[in-house]
Amino acid sequence: MSFAINVARRLGEQDVALAFESDAAVTAIVGPSGVGKTSVLNMVAGVLRPDRGRIAVAGAALFDAASGLDVPVALRRAGYVFQDRRLFQHLRVRANLLYGARGPERLAEVAALLDLAPLLARWPRHLSGGEAQRVAIGRALLSEPAFLLLDEPLAHLDRARGEEVLTMIARARDASGVPVLYVTHRPEEAERLGARMVAMG
């Protein structure tokens, strides 16, 4: 099973809850804004603790309220691409890409995959939206993730740049071979990636 997730968490006035199992290469959580899709990703990544439930990815249990299991964030090896990207502004692109990597060996390969070679010496603040998104994806891929979490990766991008990034994500899916959890409010993006869709909200 790629993802076996059953979580619930109360956030202020809102109850965020989602349960699904998926064995697809790409699983997409599809639903309107504000239903807590990002919160689900946060729980899978380990930066938000569910009130109850269980999270298992690729057969490994990451969280289980019943047994008290809660694998620390740093050990979950989530390749998390945040919606707001969160590149380190004080580090050049190259250092951003290698932040979670064990060594620079795979840099050339990932740079070629995502067309990042011309950006390596730049500062994040000088990148366009599409470029920054590709760097964020590259950083996640280079951290040798056990799974990938992509939160609305095409948000803030115009149509052409969105197409470009979607192509890169398809490449990353094929190259990394790890399960992908993709959050979007647009079903057509999920279809393009051949995702198994999970409706939320």
């Binding site: 964030v73 090896r77 707001d84 380190f88 004080h90 580090l91």
Partner: protein, 208 residues
């Protein structure tokens, strides 16, 4: 000396005040800021009570062979304590401005808490730490009231520049001496400001 020794302490306190959630945080906040609002003479007297040979801390230090009242180390302690609130406030503001989402991102990339601190938190608040050190240095250099109360103005031991200037101005032929010392303090202060500005510029270039 005083500022260098105070900096790690101030950073720790700023961290506690910015990030910590514990009972007594408000009390700590007040204690840290007391030197800022109390008359320096009161602060010096309190230091004398605590660190003097008869005081609780002074007594403990004496039993391990350290004496600081009326010594240069005491002058450094006085300057450090008086500078502390300014340094803590500045670093705390800088810590508050560090985006916790970046620290979170670093954690998901497998970084330990120590590495997140070293590679994300510290570089991002470096300009604030530098600014705090400059403010602290300025305060320490000019500190007068607490120092003269706590350690006196012993030549070669505890006579800081402001104490020496004040002493020189008390004697009829001391004007030349005072002028030389005033020139010295202008030079030191200007050098510190220039150094800090250069450091801050370098830090900003990376942080923004």
């Amino acid at each position: 000396m005083a500022v260098l020794a105070t900096l790690p302490v101030a950073f720790g306190l700023a961290w506690l005040l910015a990030r910590g959630r514990f009972a007594g945080r408000m009390l700590l906040d007040v204690a840290v800021h007391l030197p800022l609002v109390l008359p320096p003479v009161v602060m010096g007297w309190l230091l004398l009570l605590a660190f003097g040979p008869a005081g609780p801390i002074g007594h403990a230090l004496k039993s391990i062979g350290v004496e600081i009242a009326f010594r240069w180390t005491g002058a450094a302690v006085a300057a450090g304590v008086m500078a502390l609130p300014l340094i803590v406030r500045t670093i705390r503001l800088a810590l508050d401005a560090v985006d916790p989402r970046l620290e979170e991102a670093a954690r998901t990339l497998g970084a330990s808490r120590g590495r997140v601190f070293r590679t994300v938190t510290l570089p991002l608040c470096a300009p604030g730490v530098i600014a705090g050190a400059v403010l602290g240095f300025a305060k320490a250099l000019g500190e007068f009231g607490a120092t003269i109360t706590f350690v006196g103005a012993i030549p070669g031991e505890t006579r800081t520049i402001p104490l020496a200037i004040w002493g020189a101005l008390q004697s009829p032929d001391g004007t030349a001496m005072a002028a030389r010392l005033a020139g010295l303090s202008v030079a030191i202060s200007a050098a510190a400001l220039i150094g800090a500005e250069l450091l801050a510029r370098r830090a900003r270039a990376h942080a923004l």
